[in-house]
């Protein structure tokens, strides 16, 4: 049913319809509305049988999910930012043990300086943790991806992170079609874990593995991750057949046919980007957009195919890898066909708005040669303020008398 709904509440309603048996969460902005709504559903009996654990930290939240999943229960949590990092030790543990579970990440910047607003630093910092990572471009897609995530997680026996932009999506009220309970039940079979803690069939989960077998275990993990690419596509197709709308999948190309310049991005910025592409196409520029929905595993071949014949690729990075450059940009560079110019651009950090105007200016600056492809560009940087600070630091380190004593 289509309803005017806050993104967080739409996600909470959808997660509830996926019938999790254990929810463990610790509050952190901007994830709170999701888990508050779920706690209410559990308390009111609307989600029975389900246990809601009010844990003492995000580390405890993910740890409880690890126990619950290992015991054979469908399991859910949500976090953001520092909370995701507080889970960091447990993230590769959940994936390494092959434990299905779904986690919403309400994307938010990482401190210091502390900042509660949206960018992608949190999720991208955990890109190698072995989780499948899906990025929602709208609240409707966030809703749909949660249904798909449970299916995907349980088929692959791997944990899945559904990333949605903090505040921009989580706190935005718009019309969303939350799937009906019967639809979700038909799409999502009961959870049958591959292994589970059961006194009738005792298993040892989490043994110590030494050098004689560790490489093979890791190789198999890498292999299973890549194989999940097929599952991501398959689940998205099945979702489309069952629900009658397109959501998720590996990539979301927008008017890339015949495009000479393609902007690659993750998340909610794709909506504004599509508008800008329409505008610029009307003005005669051969421009397109490529949304990455499945960020891990990285759809290497699909991205390469999507960028074939493109002259200039612009990567919108809403995170920065201090000391080396960008994160998404590195992945795109690996996939870009030889000879493609990749313009690696950082913008929209810590909640700085990425508006249509900003995106339009970005494309035009690339077209007119103002944004190069040889180095990382901080596109929405206040150059004057940064330069003034650098000058002040320089003045502090150079003695006033010129160094003579």
């Amino acid at each position: 049913m289509r309803r005017q709904l806050e993104g967080s509440l739409a996600v909470a309603d959808t997660v509830a319809r996926c019938r999790p048996r254990v929810v463990a969460a610790y509050p952190i902005s901007p994830q709170t509305h999701i888990v508050e709504a779920l706690s209410e559903l559990v308390a009111s009996g609307g989600l029975a049988p389900c246990e809601y654990l009010t844990v003492e930290s995000e580390f405890g939240a993910l740890s409880a999910c690890i126990g619950a999943s290992a015991a054979g229960a469908r399991t859910y949590t949500a976090t953001a930012s520092q909370g995701l990092l507080f889970m960091a030790e447990a993230l590769p543990n959940a994936s390494g043990l092959g434990l299905p579970m779904v986690m919403t990440v309400a994307n938010r910047a990482l401190g210091a300086p502390i900042n509660i607003w949206n960018d992608h630093s949190d999720a991208l910092s955990q890109r190698d943790a072995g989780w499948l990572m899906l990025f929602a471009s709208s609240n409707q897609e966030a809703v749909d991806l949660h249904v798909q995530a449970f299916a995907l997680s349980e088929r692959t026996s791997l944990p899945v992170m559904v990333c949605m932009d903090g505040f921009v999506l989580t706190h935005a009220v718009e019309e969303v079609d939350v799937p009906e309970q019967e639809q979700v039940d038909a799409f999502l079979p009961d959870f049958h874990p591959r292994q589970s803690l059961d006194p009738d069939h005792p298993v040892t989960i989490g043994a110590m593995v030494g050098p004689e077998a560790f490489t093979e275990v890791k190789y198999l993990m890498a292999h299973r991750q890549l194989r999940a690419l097929d599952e991501v596509s398959a689940v998205a197709q099945e979702f489309e057949s069952a629900f009658g709308r397109t959501s998720g999948g590996l990539l979301q190309p927008y008017r890339t046919d015949g495009a000479e310049l393609v902007v690659v991005a993750l998340g909610s910025v794709l909506g504004s980007l599509a508008d800008v592409v329409d505008e610029l196409r009307d003005e005669g520029l051969a421009v397109g957009a490529l949304g990455i929905c499945c960020y891990r595993p990285w759809p290497f071949d699909e991205v390469r195919d999507a960028l074939r014949g493109v002259t200039d690729v612009v990567v919108v990075n809403r995170a920065v890898a201090v000391g080396s450059g960008s994160i998404l940009g590195q992945d795109v560079r690996l996939s870009a066909p030889r000879g493609t110019a990749v313009h690696d651009v950082v913008l929209g950090l810590g909640g700085r708005p990425v508006t249509r105007d900003v995106l339009r200016r970005l494309v035009l600056d690339v077209v007119t040669g103002r944004v190069g492809s040889d180095s990382l560009t901080f596109f929405d940087l206040d150059h004057d303020r940064a330069a003034a600070e650098l000058a002040r630091e320089l003045a502090d380190t150079v003695p006033a008398n010129g160094g003579g004593s």
């Binding site: 930290s57 740890s63 126990g67 803690l197």
Partner: protein
């Protein structure tokens, strides 16, 4: 309840032979149908107190739950010596996740059992003192505070033995460890304000807290049985000497544990909802020196010129706990 005073015929031991007891009072270990939850062939050191305790605790819990038991293990000696892939010593469902999260993982298992209609399956979490009093304390306190249906067992060998004998929050003052060497005028591990986990557990007012040692396996089994007869958060703190880390003889493990209790340094008691309900009195009180001298971690206290002041301070700690818990029947007024 009627009780028959136990007669002890063996000299120099505090153990009652099972054949002297009524069959219903005999130990789980004396029974041929014990679960053998952790089998032989694991890689614990000679004289390991933790291996002995884990066997006794798990088999007693298996008996108490009719075999409907799942265990969660923190990283540490017990985890490492029992599960070198592709081997496993565990005959029960066993899950190891991380060092500091055993309590939270166990809470998750218990929640899953409830939510999937299997709450006849009980959960027992195991960790060393590092995984309990230091890195695992946050998750453990959360588990206590929510009163989750988990028995958490700490095998306390008073240090990080698995990583090479460094001090933990449970290491006693005066002990030499790999990172508290008594160099210069140092005494080894400094006197702090203490981190007494049984009392911290009691402050959470959970249904059941108990301490035990491997010197009295009958008592240890009884406490596990009592714990498993209750629901909610329960905590059992077991002193397990470590010959490697303590520098005691492998054949003295049980003796060292007994002297810890008889000196008053390790009070053995039970508490319910924050109140001590039962203590195990000291039978033959000994000076702390008798306990300390068996362990090379305290050797510097007795090597010329020695540190009688440190020994006296440790004695004062023991005396304080003997008075606090009423451990010495002869001191009772």
């Amino acid at each position: 309840m009627t009780t028959t005073p136990l007669r002890l015929y063996q000299v120099g031991t505090f153990a009652a032979g099972n054949r002297l007891l009524d069959p219903s009072e005999r130990t789980v270990q004396s029974s041929a149908d014990r679960a053998s939850s952790i089998t032989s062939g694991h890689r614990a050191c000679r004289g390991c107190g933790e291996a002995l305790a884990a066997r006794v605790v798990m088999d007693a819990a298996m008996r108490a739950t009719g075999g409907r038991l799942v265990t969660v293990n923190a990283t540490g000696c017990l985890e490492v010596f029992s599960t070198p892939f592709p081997e496993s010593a565990w005959q029960v469902p066993w899950l190891h996740s991380l060092f500091g999260n055993a309590a939270a993982v166990a809470s998750g298992v218990a929640a899953a059992m409830r939510a999937t209609g299997r709450d006849d399956v009980r959960v027992l979490a195991q960790a060393g003192d590092g995984g309990t009093v230091d890195i695992g304390l946050g998750c453990l306190s959360g588990m206590f505070e929510r009163n989750d249906d988990v028995l958490f067992v700490c095998y306390d060998n008073q240090g990080y033995m698995n990583t090479g004998v460094q001090r933990s929050g449970a290491t006693p003052a005066g002990a030499s460890t790999a990172n508290t060497r008594p160099v210069g005028s140092g005494i080894g591990n400094a006197f702090g304000t203490g981190k007494n986990l049984p009392r911290i557990a009691m402050a959470h007012e959970i249904p059941y807290v108990a301490t035990a040692t491997i010197a009295d396996l009958h008592d240890l089994e009884a406490k596990v049985t009592s714990a498993m007869s209750r629901r909610g958060a329960r905590y059992l703190h077991v002193l397990v000497p470590c010959p490697l880390g303590w520098g005691s003889d492998a054949s003295d493990t049980v003796r060292v544990a007994r002297l810890a209790t008889q000196s008053g340094l390790f009070p053995v008691f039970e508490a319910e909802h924050g109140t001590v309900t039962q203590v195990t009195p000291i039978r033959r009180r000994v000076p702390v020196e008798e306990y300390l001298r068996l362990q090379t971690r305290f050797r510097h206290l007795f090597t010329e010129p020695g540190r009688p002041d440190v020994v006296a301070a440790l004695q004062a700690q023991a005396d304080r706990d003997i008075a606090r818990y009423g451990l010495d029947p002869e001191e009772e007024s």
